[in-house]
């Protein structure tokens, strides 16, 4: 395909014959007068509000009460077996009524298979960043998050968001994230509006998203 590579690049250059030779990409001015954040309210309040707006279940708990809140959420859900990343903190599951199936650490033994993930009642993870203005949780497979499949196949996702991970805006989140790791930005449960524009929650991703904001 080398032929096409050269041909396309040559065609691009020919098409741009009006661009002065000396012009560098950086010479094309990009005005960045937009805001870094919109000051729409206290971040945690805003996050909770926006998550609820997209029909996620939200609970705000004290940092020391995460274990209890996880237990309560799983009890309410009736979950008896849940998946978790290998490095999820012990204290999350201190009073957990469900059996916790941990994924294997990367490179150590086979990861949980798709069938196994399909059979659990849910998954419990942390997140990398949460964006208050848009009600978005970003997972990047880093600390307490595990592989992407972990939060995709189970039908219920319980996500623990530490207050320190919450930013106001999209620009603040992008600045914190590195695309070297694969990312999943999640804003509410899976949804479709494809049929007469009526919003239906729950198509292929987890049909229920529950968020514990740990302050």
């Amino acid at each position: 395909m080398t032929g096409s590579r050269e041909r396309i690049l040559a065609r691009v250059r020919a098409a741009l014959s009006d661009v002065p030779r000396g012009e560098a990409a950086e010479d094309v001015r990009v005005p960045r007068g937009y805001r870094r954040a919109h000051g729409q309210g206290p971040a945690l309040d805003l996050l909770a509000d926006r998550l609820e707006d997209y029909r996620a279940l939200v609970r705000r708990v004290p940092a020391a009460g995460v274990g209890e809140a996880v237990a309560e959420a799983l009890r309410r859900r009736g979950a008896s077996r849940v998946a978790a990343p290998d490095d999820a903190p012990e204290e999350w599951f201190a009073s957990c009524p469900a059996e916790v199936v941990r994924d294997a650490p990367l490179g150590e033994g086979p990861p949980l298979g798709v069938a196994e993930l399909d059979a659990v009642d849910g998954v419990v993870t942390g997140c990398s960043v949460a964006i208050a203005e848009t009600g978005t949780i970003v997972l990047d497979t880093g600390e307490h998050q595990g592989r992407r499949a972990l939060t995709l196949v189970p039908d219920y996702h319980l996500c623990v968001v530490r207050a320190g991970r919450v930013v106001d805006s999209v620009p603040e989140a992008v600045a914190r994230l590195s695309p070297a790791l694969p990312q999943t930005w999640i804003s509410g449960p899976s949804a479709t509006s494809d049929i007469e524009l009526q919003r239906v929650e729950g198509v292929h991703g987890p049909r229920t998203l529950e968020v514990l904001i740990a302050e």
């Binding site: 065609r11 990409a25 005005p31 798709v114 848009t134 009600g135 992008v174 070297a180 990312q183 198509v203």
Partner: protein
């Protein structure tokens, strides 16, 4: 551009047919107005929308003016991250590359994430010829595929179907493609979505090969970004072993940080949400996570021709949000199919003739499928001056060698909008609105709030007119075609 829509009639004929379909018109009106309203709210929440829009425009211009450099950078970074980069000059070559890659895996089935680029090149048909079945996994695309139909909207491709029709399609066709529709399936959207979930779930969990497009490709890092709602994208991008992404060369953005602009512009302009439910970002292959055999096919297929046109090249800034469709009075009445391309609405009217050339009658008629009211420009998140390109393309059509310019010009917009009075009215409304807002965006810091009040054709007079028009049609003496319209439109701009 290949296959899908070739042989469809030119815009005026196709539009006239669509305008007579009452059900279609009802669906379209309801849908476009609903999304339009949501978009207005989501955009109105950000008091720096004008600045974001200006930044989005400028970032895309920077990319396009130095596209060669950014393409080379993207290739280098994606390759370093473990992806294999391929270059496809046209649809045929892109299809051949993807077919070869799928064949190499030994698989006969692929799952697909909704992608305009693969529709543009007719990939599903090419794969079918090679004995490979491509399963569309986006709910709307599934509906379109099961009914051997064509998409009619960028964002909601089955917008022309109502729930009863969709139920009917599922009941009749699902079994041929895999898991059949459940017994006694009703037409509640919830039930229909559940049927789609069950129908596709096994495919997702067992698929070895996926094909996707991308909303953005980051040159600096080699990353691809896909925005979606249902989770079918995540399934396709995460579970298979092989991932092949077909990406138009205009999808690039220079840096990771540039996404801070587009991740605000696109969801709000598109679905009218603060953020779409799911976005996936991946950079080459990640050991132990997701597909390990990762391919990126960079597609030209007419884009460099478009880039060569100094007026027309701004169409390549398009991020396919579909806001211009939802605001367009012509689209609202004609629907997407009349545009004879996977790119319908105002953006289709400027993109299709540039990608394919204006020689064919269908392509030549597209620059006339507009009243030049300018609403599309006002809502466009990357400030593409669609009316300017339309006028420019009309000139190209009119001066084309051996082309019956008049025939092409004849009443494309009029097929939808009707008579002189209406058009004059629309133009008056538009020019009045345009007088109130700056034609070009002011620099950062200057206010821009006025432009959020999108100029629309005055609803009252139009409805009166339409009723009249329908009565005439019922009597069998609908409005005749009047020539010369196009010149005047052009002149008034």
């Amino acid at each position: 551009m290949s296959g899908t829509f070739i042989g469809m009639p030119a815009f005026p004929a196709a539009a006239r047919r669509a305008v007579q379909d009452a059900q279609l018109r009802h669906n379209l009106r309801k849908a476009t107005h609903t999304i339009r309203g949501k978009r207005g709210e989501a955009v109105g929440e950000l008091d720096d929308w004008a600045e974001l829009r200006e930044a989005g425009r400028a970032i895309k211009d920077r990319t396009l003016r130095h596209l060669d450099r950014y393409l080379e950078q993207l290739e280098e970074r994606a390759t370093a991250a473990g992806a294999t980069v391929h270059w496809a000059a046209d649809a045929e070559e892109a299809n051949a590359i993807v077919t070869r890659l799928v064949r190499a895996t030994g698989e006969r089935e692929v799952v697909k994430v909704k992608s305009m680029a693969t529709q543009e090149i007719g990939l599903n048909e090419a794969l079918a010829r090679a004995g490979v079945t491509a399963y569309e996994t986006d709910l709307a695309e599934l509906i379109v595929q099961l009914s051997d139909d064509f998409p009619s909207h960028i964002l909601v491709p089955a917008i022309h179907r109502n729930r009863a029709e969709i139920r009917e399609i599922f009941v009749r066709r699902m079994a041929e493609w895999g898991v059949p529709a459940p017994e006694g399936l009703g037409d509640d959207p919830r039930e229909l979505a559940e049927a789609a979930r069950v129908h596709l779930r096994e495919k997702f969990l067992t698929a070895k090969v996926a094909v996707s497009g991308a909303n953005f490709a980051v040159a600096e890092t080699g990353s691809l970004v896909v925005l979606e709602s249902e989770g079918n994208g995540r399934m396709c991008l995460t579970l298979p072993e092989t991932l092949i992404s077909v990406v138009g060369i205009e999808k690039l953005v220079p840096t990771w940080a540039d996404l801070e602009v587009f991740m605000q512009l696109l969801p709000r302009s598109s679905t009218g949400e603060r953020m779409n439910p799911y976005s996936s970002v991946w950079t080459g292959a990640t050991p132990g996570d997701g597909p390990q055999d990762v391919h990126l096919v960079l597609l030209d297929n007419g884009r460099t021709d478009t880039l060569a046109d100094r007026v027309g090249r701004q169409a390549l800034r398009c991020i396919r949000c579909s806001a211009c469709l939802n605001i367009c009075p012509v689209y609202e009445r004609s629907g997407g199919h009349a545009y004879g391309s996977v790119y319908p609405g105002p953006i289709g009217a400027v993109l299709t003739p540039q990608l394919r050339g204006v020689q064919g009658p269908a392509e030549a008629s597209l620059p006339y499928a507009s009243s030049l009211c300018g609403a599309c420009y006002e809502v466009c998140p990357v400030a593409i001056d669609i009316p300017e390109i339309l006028v420019h393309l009309r000139e190209r059509v009119a001066s084309g060698p051996g082309h019956a310019a008049e025939r092409a010009a004849m009443s494309a917009a009029e097929a939808v909008l009707g008579d002189h009075r209406l058009l004059n009215m629309a133009q008056r409304a538009a020019s009045a609105a345009r007088g109130a807002v700056p034609r070009r965006l002011p620099g950062p810091g200057a206010g821009w709030t006025d432009t959020r009040d999108i100029p629309d054709i005055p609803p009252r007079p139009f409805r009166d007119w339409w009723r009249e028009h329908e009565k005439e049609r019922a009597r069998g003496d609908g409005p005749g075609a009047a020539g010369g319209r196009a010149d005047r439109e052009g002149g008034e701009r």
